[in-house]
Symmetry: C2
């Protein structure tokens, strides 16, 4: 957190301003997919820092408690946006960003969405089965049957959507999405 040491105050000011703006937009971006603004900033600082940082350094730079850094860092670890790295000569944990944002993006959806979507699909399947049971049981009640049919149709359509979504998530996971939308060269 001190890679600006040895520069003139004016230089520090200029660089800091430029960095600050980027860090801010990183924060806003992460906010878009449900990560706290402050954790976004946390990532931003780490992103610009040369080399890994400790909880204490983060705490000092962010002006927040060490506990907050601990939880924030853990969130980012869970999302695979940062790594814990080993450093000789210190007992402190060291953390560094995973700088591949395309990968971050993919991991995020994979981690956060896959499980939920799969859970939802199970629920839908269960309800669909119940509807079908009812269709057998009350097959002579035409008014009810009509209702059951529209419900069935709606659930089926939802399942189709989730299936699509799952395939999208898979294309993130296996990188096929980058065949469809290539990363920028350079």
């Amino acid at each position: 957190m001190n890679d600006l040491e040895g520069l003139t105050p004016e230089q520090i000011d200029k660089i800091s301003k430029a960095r600050e703006r980027v860090i801010d937009s990183i924060g806003k971006n992460m906010d878009l997919y449900g990560i706290t603004l402050s954790i976004g900033h946390l990532y931003g600082y780490m992103y610009f820092n040369q080399g890994p940082v400790t909880l204490d350094e983060l705490s000092k730079t962010m002006g927040m408690s060490k506990t907050s850094m601990s939880t924030g860092v853990r969130t980012l670890l869970d999302l695979k946006m940062i790594d814990k790295v080993w450093g000789r000569g210190t007992r402190k944990d060291l953390f560094t960003t995973v700088p591949d944002w395309h990968q971050n993006f993919s991991d995020y959806f994979s981690i956060k969405w896959r499980k939920a979507v799969e859970g939802n699909m199970i629920s839908l399947a269960k309800s669909l089965a119940e509807i079908n049971d009812m269709k057998k049981e009350y097959s002579d009640d035409s008014k009810l049957m009509q209702l059951l049919n529209t419900d069935e149709e709606k659930i089926t359509e939802s399942i189709n959507y989730y299936r699509w979504l799952l395939k999208l998530i898979e294309s993130f996971e296996n990188g096929k999405i980058f065949e469809f939308i290539p990363k920028e060269e350079s």
Copy 2:
């Protein structure tokens, strides 16, 4: 909100349970992309109801204030997940779901992300320009130059990511994504 009228209590119970489960998973799904659980439920109820509903009906069914329904409905309207429809013989506003979830998904990202991403790109470009100015100004200070270069590289990489993201969003907007990952037939 009363399309179950005329059924036996047992039938109502069964259907309600099946629906409730689906509505719940709809809520959870929408929660994934930052929509309140309760608004998700709101959508879920509307999704299953035959025909459009009024704020008062929603309020009664959801057991929440009419004000909340008003704001919730407005949120869903902004995201183009529901439509306001016209009904003869009533002065109440009528709302109905847009049942195409693939479209909903696309709209959501288009609406929620595009603007933010574009804003971020502008910020990054500004910072990049400042870094480049500094590179000219302090071209004789090799330590500083090194720092500036790594910063520049990081910002450039970010911009690449945002460009990619924008292209992804565009593929949602123009439907090209469905050529890559087709909707399920059936």
